[in-house]
């Protein structure tokens, strides 16, 4: 993808870390919460220097949008604004830590629930299985032997290609995990979620996770 504008929805630990890393990668970054832009202007100036504090509508109109709000607040995301947009779902359902949320308490992956809510969005699950503290530390140049890999799952191949380019520029090897439902294998509690992996290791773990269970 050409240098473009990244919109970040959410100014918590994850949103601000992704914003800083995207700025470092040379992107123009717009960051928003559900509140008016003025309320996070000082936050953006100090915590994500170089990012523009905007309203959610303006962030949603970016070339690529990263959704990073606390999962229990997912309904503050606006389906109308995100219809047709390429959206990275960096959120996680982590019941043991954050409590049970009824909407996510079934066998579907959390991103499948988000996709149902954001019906028109081109949703890509990624950036969810790297800690916000690691994101700015573990990044490496392409080709580095210890470059960490991040999985992508989406039902939209074009959106997935765009996000793969973004992940690469952030400093990570993008690995196609398959359709959005494949995101279940890199959610909290899985082997993939629990550690850092190179591209080769991640491909192996994805293949292993997608094998039908042997009797």
């Amino acid at each position: 993808m050409e240098l473009g504008v990244i919109g970040i929805l959410g100014a918590g630990q994850v949103g601000t870390a992704v914003a800083r890393q995207a700025l470092k990668a040379g992107y123009r970054v717009k960051i928003a919460t559900a509140k008016p832009a003025a309320e996070i202007a000082l936050l953006a100036e100090i915590i994500t220097p170089g990012a523009e504090a905007v309203d959610a509508a303006e962030a949603a109109a970016a070339d690529l949008v990263v959704a990073a709000v606390p999962l229990h607040k997912y309904r503050t995301l606006r389906p109308d604004l995100l219809a047709g947009r390429t959206v990275v779902d960096a959120m996680n359902y982590w019941a043991q830590t954050d409590g049970v949320i009824a909407d996510f308490d079934d066998e579907r992956g959390s991103s499948e629930v988000i996709q149902e809510f954001l019906a028109g969005a081109r949703l890509v699950k990624s950036l969810n299985h790297i800690g916000y503290r690691e994101l700015e530390v573990d990044a490496r140049e392409p080709g580095s032997a210890d470059r960490r890999a991040l999985a992508l799952a989406s039902d939209d191949d074009d959106a997935k290609a765009v996000v793969a380019g973004f992940i690469d520029r952030l400093g990570y090897d993008p690995i196609d995990a398959g359709p959005l439902s494949a995101g279940r294998v890199f959610q909290p509690g899985t082997t993939i979620f629990n550690a850092a992996h190179t591209a080769k290791q991640l491909r192996g773990l994805l293949a292993e996770a997608n094998e039908p269970a042997r009797p």
């Binding site: 918590g12 936050l43 915590i47 043991q96």
Partner: protein, 347 residues
Amino acid sequence: MEIGAYSFGDTQLNPDGSQRGTSEAVRNLFEAIVQADHAGLDYFGIGEHHTTSMPASSPGAIVAAAAAATKQIKLGSAASIISTDDPVRVFQQFATADAISGGGRIEITAGRGSSVETFPLFGYDLGDYDELYAQKLDLLMTINNSATPEVNWDGSRRPAITNLAVVPRPAAGPMPIWLATGGNAGSSARAGQLGLPVSYGIIGGAPHRFAPLAELYRRSAAQAGHSGPEIKVSVAALGLVAPTKQEALDRFYPGWHNLNVEMGRLRGWPAPDKRAFLAQAEAPGAYYVGNPDEVAERIVHLHGHLGHMRHFLQTDIGGLPHEHLLESIQLLATEVKPRVERLLARK
């Protein structure tokens, strides 16, 4: 710079690894606070956790007991999970401790808690997380800042309070109410806007990455017209002081390992990694594990980034033998604190 400690209670382990009693853990905690006061430590924070391994569930009760048994140390919660507590009761308990202490050394730290076990325990709806926290903090501040015993408050999560007395009143004016946060930028901005002191819980990564948060806090406070001594920063971190670095590592690691195994079982984490532990236990990591020289130097180094006025350590985790907690507290007060003061005076 104030030097202190905090604890969630730490249930001791039998030689076979099974847990001893939670009552003993609370008694140990009380003993540690009394010793900290004798040794000259500045601050002790208590709770709030609700697990068999960390049973300091009732900071108000422990603070009140400690208020009666200590002379100079400041006592507070670390933190009170006000989202699922009654702010009227929290205030009354701490104001009662304030009266018993002689006045002026009791504080409240208001937090959300790092886990959500209090929601089902006290019968609250997790979907109400943000609104409960905001409203209960507002009520607690309203009661504390009231010029008269009679309080008026109105909100949507409980019936209004109309001209009802909330007593006792703190002897030396409003008690300090700290806002505790683990590094969410919005929380730092909110603390500044409210004019509350902020307490950073730094449990991993390089602590100096909190510097922009402290700047956001101070500038948010200035923007909202808050200045003066109540605009201040404290840091809560993990650590243990021993005569030598190797002893400190050897004493702290087993409990750290036990705690991470327990958390991992609950939360689906992988087995704890000793290399990660050792990395965090060296500058610029988050664990203040070392001899008095090293711990003092690292506190002063962080002070250069955050300008914090209090640094306090949680030491007793995962069944740390009680005598190691007591020795660490003794060294913090008698060896680390004077070194910190000396190093800061040189700056």
